[in-house]
Every structure is written in C-alpha cells, then in structure tokens.
Amino acid sequence: MTTTVSATAALALGDDALVLSHRLGEWAGHAPVLEEEVALANIALDLLGQARVLLSTAGDEDELAYLREERAFRNLQLVEQPNGDFAHTIARQLYFSTYQHLLYAGLAATDGPFADLAAKAVKEVAYHRDHAEQWTLRLGDGTETGHERMQRACTALWRFTGEMFQPVDGLDVDLAGMETAWLESVRAVLHRATLTVPEGPRTGAWSAGAGRQGVHTESFGRMLAEMQHLHRSHPGASW
C-alpha cells in the first residue's frame, strides 16, 4: 500500500463483489446440476473474499455489509439484478467478470492502493470470466432454446453495462481504454456464440445506472432484507 485507500473506491468495488457474491449464493440448492452449483459457489466465495478485504479497508466489514440501508450501497446495478434463468446469471457474469478482469489487471499494474488485492484477485477473476465465456458459447451456439434464452438475457442486461465505466473517485484506471477493450471482448464472445450484440446506447438518459450514487433497482431491497435479516435480528451473532 503506497497511497491511502479511497473509501469511495473501496466501497464501490467491495459492494460489487459482496452483492454479486450473494446473488450467486442464491443458486445453492437450485442450480441445474451439482457440478455447476459448486462452480457458482466457488465464484461466489472468491467474490466474498474480495469483498471482505475491500470493505475492511473502508470500515468495519460486518457493519458495512449488514447494517447499511439500500441507499448507502455503492454497487453497480448490474450485479444486483436477479438471477433469472441460468442464461441471465451467465450474461450478468460475462458482463461483470470481463469488466472486473480488465479493472483488476489495470489496478495490478499500478502502484496504487489496490495493487496488492488486484494482483491476487485477477487470477480468480480470469477464471470467472472464462467460465462465463464458455457457458455463453455453449448456450448461444447450442440448442434453439438455449440460444433464445441467452440472447434474451444478453439484451435485457445490456442497459446496465454503461455504468461500469463511470469514473469512481479514487480509482485511477484508464476507463476509456477499459471500455474499448470490454466492448471488443464481449462482442467477440457474442459473435462466436452466434448471438446478436445488443444495440442501443449503453449510457444515456434512458439507460440504467446510478448504483454508484446509491440508487438501486426494485429487487435489491428484497435481496438486502434477506442478506441482512440474521445480523439485524441477532446482532453480533457468530458461529
């Protein structure tokens, strides 16, 4: 750690990891097959580990995770989107992991406050990205149903992707370069998967995204209620 950590940036990245981790955890007991359930749980645990480090640098991790109200969370709206069908989960993961991989690779190359964490996490995230890409290819270029559902998921979540490249205070990365690389990578995967790259601007008056400012979508409140109810009902509960 060579410079002071920006709490704003730590919260943004930490909340992304925490919220997506919880969403993926919701698959436990419900995944299509046991092997995939373990894969999703592993990804969730990787993200939870990142969240713990990041939130601990911003304050007390339990207080931040369990005692904040919805408007105090700074995660992207993308990661709070419900699991939907398996295709939605995979599309969300493809969009996010591609972004997170580029972000951590960028941060690891700096000597900024997140370099240590990013250097460690970038290996985990490379696997998340690969997992999502592999599934996107198989669902998109597989059966007719798979193709249809994967296309629907990619299109539905497209409007949440512009928000990823908004500047975050204290996050010193080349966002414009990241956005170009992200678009190039996601386009290539969707093409290979015989899917149509969704059209329309990803940022603009009607596109989604103010999660970094604390504005969240409808399903997020319900998710938080579930995530926080144990700690709120039994403060300080431990194993």
Partner: protein
C-alpha cells in the same frame, strides 16, 4: 436438481511434479472442456494439484469382479515375482 444427459468423466489429478496422476473421483460434464473446469472446482480448490486429466468413463475398460480370482490371486509361493531382493539406493524418492 434434475438429472441431465451429461456424460460421466473420471478425474485424475497429479498432486506434485514427479508423481503420477491418481484417480480423484468422477463428475458429470457436457464436454471435455467443462469436465476439466468442473474438476478444477471439485478437486483442486485447496491446492491439491498441478495437472488434471479427464477421461470419459465410457472409455475405460475395467476388470470384472467375476474375474477376481484369475486376475488378482496369483500363487503366493513364487517369491521371484516380487522385487524384494534389490537394495534401494539412497536418495531415490517416490519408488
């Protein structure tokens, strides 16, 4: 959880360089690429391995329990079959 038509794969993990791959277990996967990834998630998450093989279970020919006697119970009175008369040089590991 529902059953799928995914084929069964046998997983072999090499725990360290210099050792051979050993059978770790089996899993279901739609294809070899995913079998490898699932194997990574199921069998190597705690740093157990440096290399993984996956083999379709259907490609394995196994001995039958009925053949147990002719296969595995050779006469025990032929000591020359057992390499017990050699001295193992010092410093040779994994022998």
């Amino acid at each position: 959880m529902t059953n799928t038509d995914w084929p069964l794969w046998e997983v072999f993990v090499r725990s360290r360089r210099g050792l051979s791959h050993t059978h770790a277990g089996s899993l279901h996967a739609p294809d070899a690429e995913f079998a490898l990834r699932n194997a990574r998630d199921l069998y190597t998450r705690r740093g157990e391995g440096v290399s993984i093989w996956v083999v379709p279970s259907s490609a394995i020919t196994a001995s039958s329990p009925d053949e147990k006697d002719p296969f595995f119970e050779p006469a025990a009175d032929k000591p020359y079959r057992h390499p017990t008369f050699y001295e193992i040089p010092e410093g040779v590991k994994h022998l």
